[in-house]
Symmetry: C2
Subunit: 317 residues, 2 copies
């Protein structure tokens, strides 16, 4: 009937996804308080900041202060995001983050052009340089990523064969440098995926690379996030990026419209109710979601934080 | 891999679900304007009002005026909801609605007790009386419904076998009166279902009644609505109740938390993107959703109305 994993790994990206888009006036101590709360939920991987140009992303200008102030839980890999060498050096300089190298290719050339101002050839060359830099610093290559794998506002639908080909390309680049990224992530960067396209793309990648662990990065722009995660689970995908409370949605939309990542506590609710172990304490994650809402000062999109968990009704019975 | 239907029937319940919970101060003309807009979307079935005690549900006190003012599109079945004989007589008296008899059993005895103050035996007896009344008025029995089929705040989890048994019971009641409801609806009245429980319950009902057309009534309380609809589609269920913009959510939650039915335009988006014909014009449905938001005066939970459709990006390519 389906092939659900027994266990999934959740990579919490709420602090990074959220605070880079929220008002810059959120105090550093509130960001740190949210991260510290998230550290007590059982989550094992958390991306907490991005090292980007503070003029472009004022909400992340305090990235170093955040990293310095967080009470690091040794059971958790705390990571940061960077888009260039300058950001990478800032991350390295904090000396507190789990440094993980990632190599990224784009399924949409149009998006690659706008986002990085590069051709596919230039992007390939840049990945070789990145790996050399990571190797020089002893930073392991932990993940490869295919961006905009399910469709793109600048290019429309993406052929499935192109995604499969790109997965082969990132694996080849890594191999050339003696590296083996443990996992390849497929990104629905602009919220184009449906459950059926998730099944189609994951299925095609699986057919070609049956042993390759995959992860999904799902944006909830059109409300398909949880359904897409379910389709991923049915295909056996056992790792997901997600954001507490659905942090990352456009703060001006007033609702879940222009949305960030799929909501962590809703995803945890679905998994746990279906017998899939996330390692996460749902009640604590909901407390984090409610606190996140206080911190940003406007409603966030997650549902379970308002709808409530089922355990209390079962107990009350 | 899956057994998606080629076509689904959507029963729009936004006006009824929404206005019974929203502030009573919404002008009748705005309700009528929304219903008239919805009448131009291609939807074929629409529940527009409920005939209930105006003291308990002030937002529906103008039910008769709404029904009288709507510009009826002859391609659409406009229906109303009633909970007792008094409400039924009011609906009948408008002489403008498509009168459809429904018989309902409850999978949760606890909910039945609180909602109707009846034992299961009393509920069974009441259905016999209802059918006799419908038959006396020449109102066809068009639907049977199992409420709280996936879990209940007052009773906890519901055994699958109980739901299968209740489906057998409603069919037997109908048969006894020479009736055959065309379709049996399964209601996730309190938002307990997950995609896996949808598959489990629908699968069990299917095993016992392979030819019986089913429909799903899915509340989005915990954000599972679209994923649950996808699971229903995978099981071949081809009829869904839904609400434009997700109308019906608690107006005080400020977000999609305490939610109404699964959102029509998000459901239509998913279906159409997966090649399933809904007969609905998505752009027009989104216009209705945006108008609904204006009418109620606060953000509503649907995503596609903010995230936008994909056609424009495909055309712009």
């Amino acid at each position: 009937m389906s092939d659900l994993p027994q266990k999934v790994m959740i990579n919490e990206e709420g602090p990074r996804e959220g605070f880079q888009i929220e008002s810059a006036s959120i105090p550093t101590r509130d960001k740190v308080a949210l991260i510290d709360m998230l550290s007590q939920t059982g989550v094992k991987h958390m991306q907490i900041v991005s090292f980007v140009n503070p003029k472009a992303v004022p909400g992340m200008a305090d990235a170093e202060q955040v990293v310095t102030a967080v009470k690091m839980n040794p059971a958790i890999d705390y990571t940061g995001l960077w888009l260039n060498q300058r950001g990478y050096k800032r991350a390295l300089a904090t000396d507190r983050l789990t440094m993980e190298g990632a190599i990224t290719l784009y399924a949409s050339n149009g998006f690659l052009q706008r986002n990085q101002n590069r051709t596919p050839q230039q992007q390939l060359a840049a990945q070789h340089e990145l790996i050399a830099m990571y190797q020089a610093d002893g930073v392991p290559i932990k993940r490869a990523f295919i961006s905009s794998a399910f469709g793109c506002n600048f290019e429309g639908d993406i052929p499935v064969a192109r995604v499969v080909d790109l997965v082969g390309q990132v694996l080849a680049i890594a191999r050339e440098h003696g590296e083996n990224p443990g996992r390849v992530g497929l990104g629905d960067t602009m919220g184009w995926a449906t459950p059926e396209s998730i099944r189609r793309v994951v299925g095609a990648v699986r057919d070609q690379f049956p042993e390759l662990p995959l992860s999904l990065h799902l944006h909830d722009t059109r409300g398909m996030g949880i359904a897409n995660a379910y389709a991923g689970l049915q295909m056996g995908v056992d790792a997901y990026d997600s954001a507490v409370a659905g942090l990352g949605g456009c703060p001006f939309a007033g609702n879940r419209g222009a949305a960030g990542n799929v909501c962590t506590e809703d995803l945890v609710f679905m998994c746990e109710e279906m017998g899939i172990d996330t390692g996460i304490d749902l009640e604590r994650m909901i407390e984090c979601a409610l606190f996140a809402e206080k911190v940003v000062g406007h409603p966030l999109s997650g549902s379970v934080k308002t709808g409530g968990i089922l355990g209390k009704y079962r107990k009350a019975k």
